[in-house]
Assembly symmetry: C2
Homo-oligomer: 205 residues x 2
């Protein structure tokens, strides 16, 4: 099995070639993939060889073949249903984000505690009352959840999601949140992205 950072790199290569807008019969080099994702060309070659994809010397990797390989790994051949909890500023931006749809993620329901929001729809997705989440989820086939509520409600919301059978959570609320061993939670902290940039800035000064 490949490490989670290996998966992250493959997801970056996948995104880069799907945004590239070149023909399937065109080629992309390991150097180009390395430059686009901030890794080394040797790491790119190692990752792709692990999955059986061998570049052609002097030419690189055929884009069509890479797409088939990467689609297989990330199982993009079917749509994945996600729910979102907390429809504030961040939640609204995520519901409107085209990048989810284009990557076959389908937001099928949203939940909030604010009576002014419950019952409304955003981008065609209905906002339900968090109090009814467990029963609402039994009728839906949701596989993953995005949590964008304030830090003060995050643990309680995550506990509800886990008891409703959600096993994958993308969490934006700050702080250390507890989940059982069998649940995958991934905490996004955008200030880390700024740290990386800042380090690069410092190095060029």
């Amino acid at each position: 099995k490949i490490s989670t950072s290996g998966i992250y790199r493959l997801a970056l290569y996948n995104r880069y070639i799907s945004d590239l807008g070149k023909d399937d019969s065109d080629y992309v080099s390991s150097q180009e993939l390395a430059r686009a994702t901030g890794h080394t060309a040797a790491q790119v070659r190692k990752d792709l060889t692990y999955y059986g994809s061998l570049g052609e010397p002097g030419k690189g990797y055929e884009i069509g073949k890479l797409k088939t390989l990467l689609t297989g790994i990330f199982n993009k051949d079917r749509i994945r249903n996600i729910i979102i909890v907390g429809v504030g500023n961040l939640g609204m931006a995520l519901m409107a984000y085209e990048g989810f749809k284009s990557q076959q993620f389908n937001i099928i329901a949203a939940f909030d505690i604010d009576v002014m929001k419950i019952g409304k729809s955003i981008e065609g997705v209905k906002i339900h009352d968090i109090a009814n989440m467990e029963t609402t989820l039994t009728d839906l086939n949701a596989e993953m959840a995005i949590v964008s509520v304030p830090a003060s409600s995050a643990q309680e919301v995550i506990d509800k999601l886990v008891s409703a059978g959600i096993k994958c959570i993308l969490n934006f609320a700050p702080g250390h949140l507890n989940v059982p061993e069998y649940v995958n939670i991934h905490n996004v902290d955008l200030s880390i992205e700024l740290d990386r940039l800042y380090y690069l800035l410092k190095n060029v000064e």
Copy 2:
């Protein structure tokens, strides 16, 4: 020099120990850091040894010493000024995000094109007219910019930032954007975070 993915790992260790809420005299093991960041304990040890930090056998790393080491790398001893362009749903969520302040990032100004927003303030930060950005920036000491405008305006906004002297850009708008060689642009695509999670879900089924 360490690779950008190495920097990313260090930023993750740094965030984990600052959220941990333990005393500086406590210890953290390489296994714990590995579990929290999705890498291997061997990779954690390799990263920290590279920077001269040696754990104590059986005990791990002293948290106080690790904090000093990581603060030095990410230069947290001074506040870094950032600007934000595009104060829509995502921009507002980023302006309100406590995580930036706690990591010594200070949003000093915002820019937008919408006359209904220009002149207002969010969390004490004034929204300026993008048309005056170059002159407004000459009075400010901004080092980095966050771009959260629609894809259709992103390239034009990034060109303006580069000509105003900004060398580090955290971009959320989708698509392939061009910057000169000396500018560091980092594109955030949250659907990649979902890809990683989905792969983990698939593997446990």
